[in-house]
């Protein structure tokens, strides 16, 4: 049955479509095990979940159980009937196919699908539908509200202050200065002509840029790790780098273990289009939200029991939202763990250059050096947007020693390349050693100062933060202010902060934190003058919460 075969077998010859077209119209049930028709449609996709193995027996016994379990577990809505159904898949096998082909939330409401007058609405995919639904999450709602009513000291003093976006504006002035002084020459300099800038270049980035980025990454780790430029793939942003690795390392229905609380964007980056699941591995405030390999082990085992194949671990170091750094021993334990389970490790180090405390930052690239471990399973994601205040530039990096991952990523980078213009500007900027050194130093100082002020301000209001030494955020415990100790209470507080306090912060539930009441405050978008304004607004909200009892 061509349909189901095409789902699990991605190595189709591009011309298979035409041979099928050219040959007889009657479809014969060739290949695959067992009976024809609907049975195959039910069984074969679900075999994909059961580790691609398991013969007909496993394939027929497990799917039914899995169907009910997954239905409950993932709380999926049924998709409504399509307007013009193709030849006879039964509605139950349709659901099963839906379940197995994508573990995304699906909510094509009946209202949307029902015809309006004579014009039946054109369908959008389940992936699209899931995106539309995600748009209601506080993360997006807050961003939208901010965009509609952004705070400005002079022009809009009652606007919403953005504390929900981990972006670094603290050193924009340095970058701007440099660009104005050097930008033109950087782009239209002596050797270059327009024809060079504008024509097709390797999609995974100019080698010259890779060289300077590798050098920069080494500087960030203070020389403790060195990076081979030929093992870099440059992408338009780090979100896409995470997504690309997901496509390279896993198949639809597989899963990644991700310690919580995690960056809300991971849900989109990892799950949206790839059909891959995230299994959250909770960390607790009692341990300062630090990662425990035991917890990973438990989660791995539970996934296995459910028949979900774990392909790897994804984590951020420095952590977003907590802002803590992974200890060296924990990294070594992690490497042992992934080796033992034969899975991948994806380490998102985009805030590596933004550690502002006394603790030492240990990159996974460094840990891999000294351990006798298989580097082919370790992949790093980096980006210049955050450490260099260059969010608008959208520069992401994949660093891997696995040649197959590199080869696949290079090919995938055609969907997400960086403009040559931008690359050229960056080459110039990153080659300016004194600028870079000064920048790193000043940036860390400013982050430290801002962090200190912000945490002190919150402390005065009786709000404690976890001790963090990296990144742009404070992770604050506001459980004392929520009325009911659950997600609902947390969301109520979030709403108050947004609507009354006019500050956009990220509630812990968006980060999958299992303890209610934690909030992420990004302080790097603020100027020093903004801090007292923010504190005052929080104070107001906090008082109104307390007075309600």
């Amino acid at each position: 049955m061509t349909r189901t075969r095409s789902y699990i077998d991605r190595n189709l010859d591009p011309d298979e479509d035409y041979r099928a077209a050219a040959s007889s119209k009657t479809t014969s049930s060739g290949g695959g095990g067992g009976s024809g028709g609907a049975a195959m449609r039910v069984i074969v996709p679900l075999q994909g979940i059961v580790q691609g193995r398991g013969g007909l027996v496993l394939g027929s016994v497990i799917p039914c159980a899995l169907f009910y379990f997954l239905r409950l577990y993932l709380k999926r809505h049924r998709s409504g009937p399509s307007k013009t159904p193709p030849p006879s898949p039964s509605s139950s096998s349709d659901q099963l196919t839906d379940v197995s082909t994508g573990v995304l939330q699906r909510s094509l409401s009946r209202a949307y699908l029902s015809p309006r007058g004579s014009a039946a609405p054109a369908h959008v995919s389940s992936r699209a539908a899931s995106v539309l639904k995600d748009g209601d999450s506080p993360y997006f709602v807050g961003l939208k509200r901010f965009q509609e009513d952004p705070y400005d000291e002079l022009a809009n003093p009652n606007g919403i202050i953005q504390l929900g976006y981990a972006e670094n504006k603290l050193c924009l002035d340095l970058v701007r200065e440099w660009a104005l002084a050097n930008g033109r020459h950087a782009i239209l300099g002596d050797e270059l002509s327009i024809s060079w800038l504008t024509t097709y270049k390797p999609f995974d980035g100019l080698m010259k840029l890779k060289l300077v980025v590798a050098e920069f990454m080494s500087q960030i780790t203070e020389g403790s790790a060195s990076f081979d430029p030929s093992q870099l793939v440059l992408t338009a942003g780090s979100s896409t780098a995470i997504e690309m690795l997901t496509f390279c390392l896993s198949d639809p229905g597989n899963a990644f273990l991700v310690p919580t609380p995690y960056y809300p964007g991971f849900d989109g980056d990892v799950k949206w289009r790839s059909g891959v699941e995230i299994i959250p591995v909770p960390c607790r405030s009692a341990d300062n939200f630090s990662l425990s390999v035991n917890a990973l082990d438990r989660a791995f085992y539970q996934a296995k029991k459910r028949g979900v194949r774990v392909r790897g671990i994804i984590l951020s170091n420095p952590s977003n939202p907590v802002g803590t750094l992974l200890k060296r021993e924990t990294l070594y334990d992690l490497l042992d763990f992934v080796s033992e389970k034969n899975i991948h490790l994806v380490c998102n180090e985009i805030f590596a250059g933004s550690s502002h405390g006394d603790e030492e930052f240990v990159s996974v690239a460094e840990a891999v050096k000294s351990e006798d471990c298989d580097r082919s399973r370790v992949h790093m994601v980096y980006g210049l947007s955050d450490d260099m205040c260059l969010t608008g530039f959208n520069i992401g990096v994949i660093y891997s020693s696995n040649n197959n991952v590199l080869a696949a990523s290079k090919k995938l980078s055609r969907f997400t390349s960086i403009s040559t213009l931008t690359q050229q500007l960056l080459i110039s900027m990153l080659s300016d050693a004194s600028f870079v050194q000064n920048f790193i130093r000043v940036n860390q100082k400013r982050l430290q100062k801002m962090y200190g002020e912000f945490v002190a301000g919150l402390k005065k209001l009786g709000i404690k933060c976890t001790k963090s030494t990296g990144g742009f955020c404070c992770w604050a415990d506001m459980s004392g202010l929520i009325r009911s100790y659950n997600e609902k209470g947390e969301m109520e507080l979030w709403g108050k902060l947004l609507n009354i306090g006019k500050i956009n912060v990220t509630p812990g539930s968006c980060c999958q934190c299992i303890e209610p009441g934690w909030f992420r405050f990004c302080f790097s978008t603020l100027s020093e003058d903004d801090v007292p304004v923010v504190m005052e607004r929080i104070r107001k909200v906090s008082e109104s919460c307390k007075s309600l009892g």
Partner: protein, 445 residues
């Protein structure tokens, strides 16, 4: 000695990573490799491979150079105060408003003002490659199908199918009517998909067509719109060569057809999506600028969010916003560009005629579609590939064989003419003429 056994299980990659669907093992790309290994250079390597497989527009560089010389501030940052609201917005996937507006106005200019574009419906992507993939993710589920008329751009096999898991079912066109799309071939493709138990989600056309180098006629566009409405599916119109039609009046955009039929507009609106890019018309492939323009609100919202995976740098947006808002520059550019492409087309067609080679009548694009079937030893795909090997490895011309474009008839080849100097083009034509002469003499002997 025992054979070593790999004790450590090597960690596996995904099927996407290991699949061949990136398509880079096909002749289309093999020719490029040949070029990479031995590239032609007028002075340093006059016997190298001439790249005629890359649809890139280099004919109007001087105009761009001139612009940038005169407007240095455009290339760096935001000169002049960006309103604080714009600053707030411009770093995310909405894109710079001034750039979207400039893009909308540029697209209108190309269509001679015969269609209007709303900047709020423009979604930015890093190139049309990304735009096509993104739309496919949005409009279809894994295992669904898109109908695409043949011959088509070889990259579609990868862009539309690789990560999306979506299938392409060809709309088989043939030379008897100049490869035009008819209601019959549309219907046949749909039935074919049904017989394969594939759910069709849409039709994807390229207008002007790659590789045909010809625009789609208004009548045909109307028939296609009727077809997609009847089948309740989408229509994606990839119009990246719209500014490369040799004359503005010869190109009809699906946007124009929609606007000219307001009575039926509401039936069609939600299903029409246009892909555009600055890579071809403006000769800026290095900048990675693509757009999706959709009349469907949900598609716009979704595409915008998904575009977070394929962003254009704000600096590039700013430069282009400046450039494209300068309507005096853009109208001069468009006009000059069209004229130069037309001239090039004339040169190549004439040169090929001298060698007795016929081309499909073209009126757009950076390439022409030539018929080399008289030169095939065997009138089939193998014969075509044999001839292709000769062209690449002996004549040192990287020309794309029709089979990589899924052409139903063997012997057609796509040859690009805009990515080289006129002199290089003459050199290439001379090589072809010489080869044809040799073949004719061989026959006589």
């Amino acid at each position: 000695m025992a054979i070593g056994i790999d004790l450590v299980p090597s960690v596996q990659l995904s099927r996407v990573a290991e699949s061949e669907k990136h398509g880079e093992n096909s002749p289309y790309f093999a020719g490029w490799k040949a070029y990479d290994e031995d590239p032609y250079h007028e002075v340093e390597n006059p016997s190298g491979v001439i790249q005629m497989g890359l649809a890139e527009n280099q004919v109007s560089f001087d105009l761009l150079e001139d612009y940038l010389e005169k407007h240095p501030e455009a290339s760096i940052w935001g000169k002049g105060a960006l309103g604080f609201r714009e600053k707030a917005l411009f770093q995310d996937y909405h894109g710079l408003l001034s750039f979207r507006k400039a893009m909308a106005s540029f697209m209108e200019q190309i269509r001679g003002g015969r269609a209007k574009f709303d900047s709020e419906r423009i979604v930015l992507t890093a190139g049309a490659t990304a735009a096509n993939e993104l739309l496919t993710f949005i409009l279809a589920n894994p295992g669904d199908a898109l109908l695409v008329p043949t011959p088509y751009y070889p990259g579609f096999d990868r862009d539309l199918r690789w990560r999306t898991g979506v299938r392409i079912v060809p709309i088989i066109c043939n030379s008897s009517n100049n490869f035009q799309i008819t209601p019959q071939v549309l219907e046949a493709a749909y039935e074919n998909a049904e017989s394969l138990n594939l759910r069709v989600r849409g039709v994807l056309i390229t207008n002007p067509s790659n590789p045909l180098g010809a625009t789609i006629q208004r009548q045909v566009l109307e028939e296609i719109l009727d077809f997609v409405a009847r089948k309740n599916i989408h229509l994606v119109s990839d119009e990246i060569y719209s500014g490369s039609a040799f004359s503005s009046s010869e190109f009809v955009s699906v946007a124009e057809v929609l606007e000219s039929r307001p009575d039926r507009h509401h039936r069609y609106r939600d299903r029409v999506h246009i892909v555009y890019s600055l890579s071809k018309d403006l000769g800026l492939p290095g900048f990675r600028v693509g757009t999706i323009y959709s009349y469907n609100d949900k598609v716009v919202t979704t595409a915008r969010r998904m575009s977070s995976f394929t962003l254009i740098s704000s600096q590039t947006q700013h430069l282009l916003a400046c450039m494209l808002s300068d309507t005096e520059f853009t109208s001069r550019y468009i006009e000059t560009n069209r004229a130069r492409l037309k001239k090039r087309y004339g040169i190549i067609v004439e040169g090929l005629e001298k060698a007795g080679i016929e081309c499909l009548g073209g009126n757009a694009g950076l390439f022409c579609w030539m018929n080399l079937s008289p030169l095939l030893e065997e009138l089939d795909r193998e014969g075509e590939l044999e001839l292709w090997k000769t062209l690449v490895y002996e004549l040192k011309l990287n020309i794309s064989p029709g089979s990589s474009c899924h052409c139903s008839e063997p012997g057609w080849f796509r040859v690009c003419f805009a990515n080289m100097s006129e002199h290089t083009l003459e050199v290439a034509l001379a090589r072809i003429q010489k080869y044809v002469e040799q073949r004719m003499n061989a026959v006589i002997i």
